[in-house]
Symmetry: C2
Subunit: 766 residues, 2 copies
């Protein structure tokens, strides 16, 4: 009744060619004009579509790393297509990635506990990519957690979180992460003042005992890790510190941290006091903190000049004053963004309740400091530079200036205007507005391509709008955010695309040229991806084993499509079972998952990765385990059983009956199918090798993988023939079936390679 696989594969190969022929010659019934009329598109819309639409297989020009806000994740998307490519979990467990579900990543989250509390989320705010000589280099990414003062380190080699450090002294933060021009330090500034070291003092002693601070985390580039032991902090007054930026070029060695609530107001609306929002925004100015971090790093090395809080070096206020490490200058009003220009000389500050942006000159600031010219001191003794001695320009922009990003064009900066729901393009050298564009609605931060570096890339700007309201189909009371892509290549800004954010409320983002990213295709065999090192318990196929030690059972397992080895694991009620699994695939994108039914375990095993699932076999039962990734046509058959025997259970000696018995006829039939299939595979292989397939690395990789599968097929064939020689038709038939399974996988990959070659126009050589 059924076609043989031979006919099938022949048919398939034929139909595949036919399918491609269809695609190449068929025409749409609808013309472009008809489509535009039907969908109500203008010529301007069509232009925007052409500037953003990215056909199958084409790549994006820039990659944006956006904070995921309260999702605790990083969102990765492409520009100009505005397609989200990945959510990378940092502070929040996420099962698809196995993050917080395998033992390796649990260790990172264990290190991320704060004062013993397990925290399963984060409020990610400001991502920063490592820099070399002031330019983004695409190696590592840092991101902070506002809710608990922590910093995560993501490797851009595999887009996985590899470290979380907990700030030893801050109660709360916001102004991180920002990197110095060679990623020497990662800056993390406090937000709501607290008692340093997370101690207690009553609010009545707010002015005396509460403090702010900035932490400089030392980054070890070679190890790709922050070194807490080589990091330090600078104590600051209890102004509510906000964003920061590191100086560059002329201002290298300095950093800038602004603040709001320099009023040091403590609310209490429940007692009839005006709320924080009133008391924290009453004054016309707050303070910009100007910090000499290079000198501070030296001072921090002198044990006499630091106090140690929770094993961490903190430079006290009096030392900062005596050593000349921290200076203040007034900045209007409840500011948010503080952004250093590409040449390092200008510091642009937006005051959320101001109508203008303030441009400070580092040259002037430096002259005031060097000349000892100060307007006075704050209540804590920090010297204050007079605003007029530091300002270059103030430029009226509109209501709610918030954050600034720089263009590749000289002197051009973009500022978000929250209340106006606009972006202003302006010249910070001359101090004039060049253009404005409305956004939808209430923009927070904005991001220009490499717009915080010494060499901004221009071209695109993204408005990170906080409210979507009417922009998208309604999905309930909780709306997506709206990131709007703006073309900044011309004189006038042009809105190109509205992109909903489906999860999390991104705060800030950073964008890098796509070609600077060179992530891994696969891991070296047996890698613990969270350390980057060889996993001590990784095994090669053939060396799988189950080791019991008291009530601990360790399963050294491999996974390849479509089976785990071992498939049956028997333990006793009460045992602690550890599955250490290595994905032995070499094929790109051949990820396997691993779940045990009714247990809180899921692994994501990319090719080469080793990860561990630990469970407590707390109840007797028979628990299926399976691959949670659709890894092949037989992925549902990639299964096994964890048998948890009741204590003292004695199994009958006799093996169970087979559900199905096979005969020599079954074996012969299967054998013939395999031989026929091989002939077809050979013809596909012959076609592929007749082309210059090695000119296409992706096709070469597929061929390599298909070759692997055929090797496995040969091994299964040998087993089948061995059992047949012993007239064990049961095993002979099933191993012949397994031989065919490998052939199907080889055929699958071979067809994919052939399609790819056709698509890319790689034809048989003459």
């Amino acid at each position: 009744m059924f076609s043989t696989i031979r006919k099938s594969l022949l048919a398939t190969t034929g139909i595949a060619a036919m399918g491609l022929a269809f695609s190449a010659t068929s025409l749409s019934a609808e013309t472009l004009d008809e489509v535009m009329a039907r969908r109500g598109l203008t010529q301007k819309d069509l232009l925007a579509a052409a500037k953003t639409y990215t056909p199958t297989g084409k790549r994006d020009e820039f990659i944006v790393f956006s904070s995921g806000g309260q999702s605790g994740q990083i969102i990765v998307y492409g520009v100009p297509s505005m397609r989200i490519l990945k959510y990378v979990s940092v502070f929040t467990p996420e099962p698809w990635q196995g993050y917080g579900f395998d033992a390796e990543s649990k260790k990172i989250l264990e290190d991320a506990k704060v004062d013993g509390r397990e925290i399963q989320w984060g409020d990610t705010h400001h991502p920063a990519i490592t820099e070399t000589n002031g330019d983004l280099d695409g190696e590592y990414l840092f991101i902070n957690d506002k809710s608990a003062p922590r910093v995560g380190v993501v490797s851009l080699h595999d887009f996985e979180t590899q470290q979380i450090v907990v700030n030893p002294i801050l109660q709360s933060e916001h102004g991180g992460t920002f990197v110095t021009p060679n990623s020497e330090y990662v800056i993390e500034a406090a937000q709501y003042p607290g008692v340093l070291g997370r101690g207690f003092a009553p609010l009545s002693e707010f002015n005396e005992k509460f403090r702010g601070a900035v932490t400089y985390w030392k980054f070890n580039r070679e190890k790709g890790r922050i070194e807490p032991e080589n990091s330090f902090s600078i104590e600051l007054p209890p102004y509510t510190q906000d964003l920061s930026d590191a100086g560059k070029l002329v201002s290298d060695g300095w950093s800038f941290t602004n603040s709001f609530c320099a009023e040091r107001y403590v609310g209490g609306i429940e007692k009839g006091r005006p709320p924080f929002e009133a008391g924290c925004s009453q004054n016309d100015t707050d303070y910009l903190h100007i910090i000499n971090w290079k000198k501070a790093a030296e001072v921090a090395n002198d044990p006499a000049k630091v106090k140690i809080i929770n094993d961490h070096r903190v430079i006290p206020l009096d030392v900062s004053i005596s050593e000349g490490l921290v200076y203040l200058v007034a900045e209007p009003k409840s500011p948010h963004g503080v952004d250093v220009s590409p040449d390092g000389n200008y510091i642009v500050v937006g005051g959320k309740l101001d109508t203008q942006a303030s441009v400070y000159s580092f040259e002037k600031i430096k002259a005031a400091i060097d000349g000892g010219k100060f307007a006075g001191k704050d209540s804590y003794g920090l010297p204050i530079i007079a605003m007029e001695d530091a300002l270059h320009k103030q430029v009226p922009l509109g209501l709610g200036p918030l954050h600034n990003q720089f263009d590749s064009k000289q002197c051009v900066v973009y500022t978000s205007l929250y209340v106006d729901s606009q972006v202003a393009k302006w010249d910070y050298c001359e101090g004039k507005v060049l253009d404005k564009i409305s956004v939808h609605y209430n923009i927070g931060h904005l991001v220009a391509m490499e717009g915080e570096s010494e060499h901004p890339a221009g071209k695109y700007l993204i408005a990170l709008n906080k409210l979507a309201i009417d922009r998208f189909n309604p999905v309930g009371p909780l709306h997506p955010q709206n990131h709007q892509l703006i073309d900044i290549s011309g004189d006038k800004m042009e809105l190109l695309y509205d992109m909903p954010l489906p999860l999390g409320e991104p705060h800030y983002a950073t964008a890098i040229s796509a070609e600077k990213l060179k992530p891994l295709v696969r891991y070296a065999y047996g890698t613990n991806s969270r350390t980057g090192e060889k996993h001590p318990d990784a095994v090669r196929p053939g060396s799988e084993k189950i080791v019991k030690d008291g009530n601990k059972v360790k399963v050294y397992m491999t996974a390849i499509r479509s089976h785990f080895t071992p498939e049956i694991v028997e333990v006793e009620e009460g045992d602690e079972v550890e599955f250490v699994i290595t994905n032995s695939e070499r094929a790109e994108d051949e990820t396997h998952g691993f779940a045990v039914s009714t247990y809180n375990v899921n692994l994501s095993l990319e090719p080469g990765k080793t990860a561990t699932a630990k469970i407590k076999a707390d109840k007797p039962g028979v628990f299926s385990y399976y691959c949670t990734e659709f890894c092949s046509a037989l992925h549902l058959e990639m299964e096994g059983y964890l048998v948890v025997k009741p204590k003292g259970f004695q199994e009958a000696a006799a093996p169970g009956a087979e559900g199905q018995a096979y005969t020599k006829a079954d074996y012969d039939k299967q054998y013939k199918t395999c031989v026929d299939t091989q002939a077809v595979i050979d013809s596909v292989v012959a076609y592929i090798v007749s082309t210059d397939f090695q000119s296409l690395p992706e096709a070469a990789a597929l061929v390599e993988d298909a070759t692997d599968q055929l090797k496995f097929a040969d091994e299964a064939k040998a087993k089948a023939e061995g059992f047949a020689a012993k007239e064990d038709w049961q095993n002979a038939t099933l191993w012949a079936g397994q031989w065919w399974q490998y052939q199907v996988k080889a055929a699958d990959i071979g067809l994919r390679a052939k399609n790819l070659l056709d698509e890319k126009g790689v034809k048989p050589k003459q």
Copy 2:
């Protein structure tokens, strides 16, 4: 030095108009041809761009609900724009939505425990929207968890999970959820066989003691909840059951569940046995289960005919046989999809290892059953219908037919071909292939618009491809999935768009006409969104309170931009603190968050919602709490302090000094600013009311909100004047500042309304 707010608002209003004028008149420097040349776009690409690009503010035609696979979530996206609108958490805690972080949703996850185990993820597979008369009605959505046998219920009124039920008898499942034509029942079928009730038996007794089953969950439409007490299951042989579908029209009352591994093979590669994949796919056929669920529902009501396992009614195999509830028919080979045609008469099955799709006729099946014409019985006594007595057609399609979706065109069906990486369009009445298209790569399921209903909508098809490999910019070894949008309006399928899935591995999806969805804009004041009922602890503004009872402290709080009431909460070390917070906003999209620094708490409070954060004040300290949503220009100032006093701590009687003291001059200055600001707001209001703003519901809602803010401004003004009358300049100045804060919020909303009116061309009336 600083502009007054008056100047600012005037300037803003002026500049806003200018900005819009820019947009309207400016032209792109680049022509369409230049853009196409630069980006390498063909005419066909441009047509696809025009068919998918959705300009700002325009809506999508269809909404897709896709399983999020191992992410444990539902993914919601629009067609044709292919923009992801929302991830809805079902089985996995997710902090942005507060899911698993507030007490209300924690209760759902508590109910979702399996055998006492807390499971913080799920492997979501098959979403199903409620149906009325066989058509999707957009009220509720069901989704299953393959890893632990559970079903979640999501309300499409607010896109929130409202219930999770745990299957009382299954060890593992896959074939859910599928609904009957009026959502009477939600179908959930087993996958890997187990001992019903999740008991233990050794694998040697697989054939005797392991079983499959199908559960029919009773859905109460009025309550929007599954009723476990009115649900039942049917015991099945230990074939590995797979997908299901409910009959419709002529086949209403019946359901169809297929299976693989009818071989009942138990692997054991570690012992030299062939792996599951070989033994489970050796035979040429498996079994399609044909079940009379309407009759079974009646039988289940007879206590003599069911066995009770874990308080759940199970119809045993012998009763199914004697009552004629279950029939088998052979189906080739390791099938996945089983899909009933819109007219209810055809059942299309794809066998993953077959080369053809099999079309069964319900009419023929019914005739065989009614005529008692069977080919035999399986090992468990179930009657088997001969394949030739049930088959309508078998149609060669290619390798790896997997899943089928129906077109609005008569007799047209689409089938995914996994191994071929193609979609076949074919005629299931005549049994001929109409078209094929290549996809990238290895398609699993596919979804056509309302393609499983009695009235498919046609137009679009989406290929849910499992491998992306080279389609997108690389983001490390773990790749996104690739959903490809295909235009099916013409005779030939046309590929329109590649959409990466950034989180989770979607398994299956369902798509509904966007106009059928009518989600809430806001909750009724004080709603517990997880029950849909009024929250008993919701308070109105003015009634906030802190209630202490022993070591339990309950804070009845409200949130409105930009403050919480109360702002200071003082407790003692060791207290259990419960914050019950109601968002008192009426404005759309004005969500507030709530986090307490260094605690594992985040709430998402949409307008009207009440939710609860519980923490244990385990250590003394002063913990800031704040709004985690960027809700206004002063969202950072939406803060408060949880003061956890050490046991026995006695505070000094004297209040702390204010950080900043205000004088009559400060008050007078602030007062004048407010008066000036009001004049500007009046002018904006005058402009808006001169238009027919009420013709635009979104604008009317904004004006309503602005009116609220001005009412609050009046209240703050009255307080300021009251303190001024008592010459308390401190409070007078700060309340005047608060008055101004409300004015800024009113201005923000007013400007947004004005922009919206301008965009929609609503001009002042003549």
